[in-house]
């Protein structure tokens, strides 16, 4: 193990390390802690210039209550969910199939198609922006959740296919051959042999795509414009103009907007990290 395990160091080093850890963590998360502090302060603290001191009263319930009952926030959150969940299902389904095709079969153009999926995934969003917006408008899907979902499914398919294909490649191939010898139809092999083995990959991709799509801002701005369809990342700017300079409410709103992917991460940490490292670093 590197660096040398702390247990093999002198006692003093161990104590210093243990004491330094929480200190380093607080330093690292300082900007977030500041926002959390803002979000429980009363309005008066900001007008009095008490930005960083102890809150003069504890107002978490009032502030978060305002976010949920006196703004469009719940609506934006619902939009985000209605955009994110169908995208996750769509992208994972498409890429499962594509990954199966690219990982199991040998045919001409296999590697080329695989590399097109990877390359498309690295492309800057801006080169897609004008045509995709145009396409969405012409399908009458501008400012709808469906318009965003369709694009997200298509774009995320690139990354998901890369992931799925590599995962399927690492599965024991004799299993598939054995099924073929038995005369099992190819689509049944996919459904009953490969798919059950892909559960960890499915979980990893699902959490990862959930986070990516929830946090998307660019496409939300390009393809939607009002509270009817906008997800929370775009909605928060409108929220902030409603509560201009009301730092306590803006911070509470930000925390609410950031929470779902955070919860997802803590619940499914193992899968999340497996997904992030592309399964390449095991």
């Amino acid at each position: 193990m590197f660096p040398t395990p702390i247990e093999k160091r002198p006692r003093s080093a161990q104590i210093t390390y243990q004491a330094f850890l929480p200190f380093a963590l607080i330093l690292w998360l300082l900007p977030l802690l500041a926002v959390a502090l803002f979000s429980i302060k009363p309005d008066a603290d900001f007008t009095n210039g008490n930005y960083w001191g102890v809150p003069s009263s504890f107002e978490a319930f009032t502030n978060y209550g305002k976010v949920f009952f006196e703004s469009n926030m719940p609506r934006y959150l619902l939009n985000s969910l209605l955009i994110t969940i169908p995208t996750v299902i769509g992208a994972v389904a498409l890429s499962c199939m594509a990954g199966f095709a690219l990982g199991v079969y040998k045919f001409k153009g296999n590697l080329l198609i695989f590399f097109i999926f990877i390359a498309g995934n690295f492309v800057p969003f801006q080169i897609l922006m004008v045509p995709v917006r145009d396409l969405t408008v012409s399908m009458n899907l501008y400012d709808t959740k469906l318009g965003l979902v369709l694009f997200h499914v298509a774009f995320q398919t690139g990354f998901c296919t890369l992931f799925m294909r590599n995962f399927i490649r690492a599965l024991p191939f004799p299993l598939i051959e054995a099924a073929r010898v038995e005369g099992v139809a190819e689509w049944r092999i996919f459904l009953y042999v490969v798919l059950p083995l892909m559960k960890p990959a499915l979980a990893a991709l699902a959490v990862l795509i959930f986070t990516f799509i929830w946090n998307d801002y660019f496409w939300a701005v390009v393809l939607t414009q009002g509270p009817d369809a906008q997800p929370v990342t775009a909605g928060i700017t409108e929220f902030n103009s409603q509560f201009r300079a009301a730092y306590h409410l803006m911070s509470a709103g930000s925390i609410v907007a950031a929470l779902p992917p955070v919860a997802m991460f803590f619940l499914m940490q193992k899968h999340f990290i497996a997904g992030l490292t592309l399964g390449a670093v095991k």
Partner: protein, 309 residues
């Protein structure tokens, strides 16, 4: 099974050849319509003048000439600023890699509660960039922001606040971006460090290697896959910087924080009118910058593929 053998239709005979294409079809269709074809369309649009609604007017390479200042015109000032800012982003963003490695080495211990520490250190990456941007813009508030309070103790005062001063604004935003990016690189290295061969480390230790030498000659070579992915995601992240700029400064002050991705958006969808053709030309330039990296990434992956066969 027997019925399958007796009536083997055309599909049955060609099953192995056809199945992959059937499985690929939906993904390829979506990807073609929303990703591959739009790239070509953007190239096409970049040779036109177009407001996004009426007819396109063919203008040849006029958009590019205006952008790059070919002929008797000056290079587009905004483009120049954006381009140099993009380079700043690229270079400074790479700091996330050594910073992530440093934190990973710091946390790669097995003391009580270390798992929770690792997750909490990773925290910033899970938060949306919009929220990171907001958080940092309050952190940088002139006079009242925590940054100004702390620097004030040392007698440093950035006039107009970090984001209000054209000389510091871009660096302020990059620092905000480095925060989640460092967390990402850290997690890559933590998983990488888990896979380091303990026998090699012990052998090197017996040979008297330790500290920096050990890191450089024994550990880093084994972390190469992690470093590669960290490099890829950091470069992509740097060139995609849009959310933070849009949220923190909206390109200002005086346009000093624009990058190509932001400038393109501004030209195509701003309140001053839709100049889609010119925007597309900027996107094409950005695409070519990215293409250099994409080719390198694909080439590295291709080498791996060949090795695996």
């Amino acid at each position: 099974m027997s019925s399958a053998d007796t009536n083997r239709g055309w599909y049955k005979r060609n099953e192995i050849a056809i199945t992959p294409w059937l499985f690929l079809l939906p993904a390829m269709l979506f990807f073609a319509v929303y990703v591959i074809i739009p790239i070509g369309q953007s190239f096409w649009i970049s040779f036109h003048q177009w407001d996004g609604l009426g007819d396109k007017t063919w203008v040849g390479t006029a958009n590019y000439e205006r952008l790059l200042g070919i002929g008797d015109q000056n290079v587009d000032r905004k483009f120049e600023v954006s381009f140099w800012n993009n380079l700043r982003w690229l270079v400074l963003y790479l700091l996330a890699i050594p910073a992530g490695l440093f934190i990973a080495l710091f946390l790669n211990q097995t003391v009580f509660g270390i798992r929770l520490y690792k997750s909490l250190f990773f925290f910033p990456f899970v938060i949306s960039q919009v929220v990171v941007g907001l958080v940092f813009s309050w952190f940088y508030l002139p006079n009242d922001g925590l940054f100004d309070v702390i620097t004030g103790w040392f007698g440093i005062d950035v006039s107009g606040g970090v984001l209000g001063n054209p000389n510091t604004a871009t660096y302020g935003i990059i620092a905000a971006g480095l925060w989640p990016q460092t967390a990402y690189c850290m997690i890559l290295y933590l998983t990488g460090l888990n896979a380091v061969d303990p026998e090699q480390v012990e052998a090197a230790r017996l040979d008297g290697a330790k500290g920096r030498k050990m890191l450089w000659y024994v550990i880093l070579p084994q972390l190469k896959p992690a470093t590669f992915i960290a490099f890829v995601v950091t470069i992509i992240g740097a060139l995609r910087s849009f959310d933070l700029i849009s949220v923190m400064t909206n390109g200002g002050p005086f346009g000093s924080t624009r990058v190509l991705s932001f400038y393109m958006f501004e030209e195509s969808l701003s309140e001053f009118g839709f100049r889609m053709g010119y925007g597309a030309a900027i996107a094409v330039v950005l695409f070519f910058i990215m293409l250099g990296f994409i080719v390198y990434f694909l080439w590295s992956m291709y080498q791996d593929e060949k090795g695996a066969r």
